[in-house]
Amino acid sequence: MVTIQNYVRVKNLEEAYTLNQKKGSMILGGMLWTKMQDRTIQTAIDLCELGLDRIDENADAFFIGAMVSLREIELHEGLYAYTQGAVRDALKDIVGVQFRNLATVGGSIWGRFGFSDVLTMFLAMDTYVELFQGGIIPLQEFAEKKPDRDVLVRLIVKKTPGVYAYASVRNQRTDFPVLACAAANVSGTYRISVGARPGKAICITDEEGFLTDGITEERAKQFAKWVETKIPTAGNHRGSAAYRTRLTGALCYRLTKKIGEEQA
């Protein structure tokens, strides 16, 4: 059972940042993981009054506030259209509607959880994280960083022309994924992001150029085989490393073909 000594609804990001510098402080996301922890939080910092629960959009990018719920992202028409439905595919199996109404994108990304469908999906896109102190950095760079005491303000997804596809394998439909996979062709570069390895998602590009001349059945297979060798996996009780490696190839193959069909 989590114990909270103080709860503060901050008035601005500066206040959030200042409060968060103390050990024992914590910025609240959806509370879904936090409430299960057996720990004491001196100061729980709530960003709920900072207007970060909005998705804004201009010609170049989507701006997704840290407090936007996963459900709002799932239902967002613009993101749906931009990703050909891949974002919705990535989020729809996360526990349930009520859960996704609470879970925040800020909490999901900040946690850099290994099982995260959210991180897996956004890594495949041209995504940046806006930090209060750290400024705007690529999501890839953020994902590799150790958690510090900065404040995650929003995600910025550039509307770089792209084609996307998402798939996961789950032992039970609303369980954590055994493996999650997002494939993309972002302005000519093919990317594969693999999460729930079970480690944190990683994203690689088609640096060998398997797909440079377009996607065929055979090239998709070769690309998938190559990705299989590039993505490290490990075992936990949801699946062994060997199984995850086979899934990596299988999902990569299937998603690459899907992207090929989408492009054709």
């Binding site: 103080n6 709860y7 509370m31 299960m36 729980a44 349930g96 509607v97 859960f99 109404n101 609470l102």
Partner: protein, 157 residues
């Protein structure tokens, strides 16, 4: 800390611990329909409407609900009565322990999408576990209700 939450239309002002969960607050205030079925936000039994949105009250701090409006099944008896009889006709209420959360989320579904397909119903209610019914009877009940409403709209009932 002092909070103000409107529960089923009545404003409650109270001093609470910052870690009090909405679920426990609601039960303390007589909303016994709100059930706890797990500690891991997996079962959906504690579903309530927070400003009209279905959420897991086991994962909402009272502190965060401060200034907001909450509805539990106690406050939505009439809206629920419209369709729960169709579930009862299927015998799908069974042990009943998951019913309040299921009914609350069905209310949210029907407000958002008054004429959902079977697949839309399954997807929206996926976070509401039930160990007794096998779900098919719940689906039949909702389907029969929707058919009844649609017939009524067409002036056939």
């Amino acid at each position: 800390m002092d909070i103000k939450i409107k529960v089923n239309g009545t404003l409650i002002c109270e001093s609470v611990s910052p870690d009090l969960l909405l679920l426990d607050f609601l039960r303390k205030h007589g909303c016994y329909s709100v059930k706890r079925g797990c500690e891991t936000a997996n079962c959906g039994l504690c579903t309530v409407l927070l400003d009209g949105t279905p959420v897991l009250s086991c994962s909402v701090l009272c502190a965060r609900a401060d200034g907001h409006e909450v509805y539990t099944l106690e406050g939505l008896q009439e809206e629920a009565s419209g369709f729960v009889g169709f579930i009862a006709d299927q015998g799908a209420d069974q042990c009943g322990f998951c019913n309040p959360g299921f009914v609350m989320n069905t209310i949210a579904l029907l407000r958002e999408n008054p004429d959902p397909s079977d697949d839309e119903i399954r997807a929206y209610l996926a976070g509401n576990l039930c160990r007794c019914s096998g779900y098919e009877g719940q689906l039949r009940g909702i389907r029969n209700y929707l058919d009844y409403i649609n017939r009524k709209k067409q002036g056939k009932e």
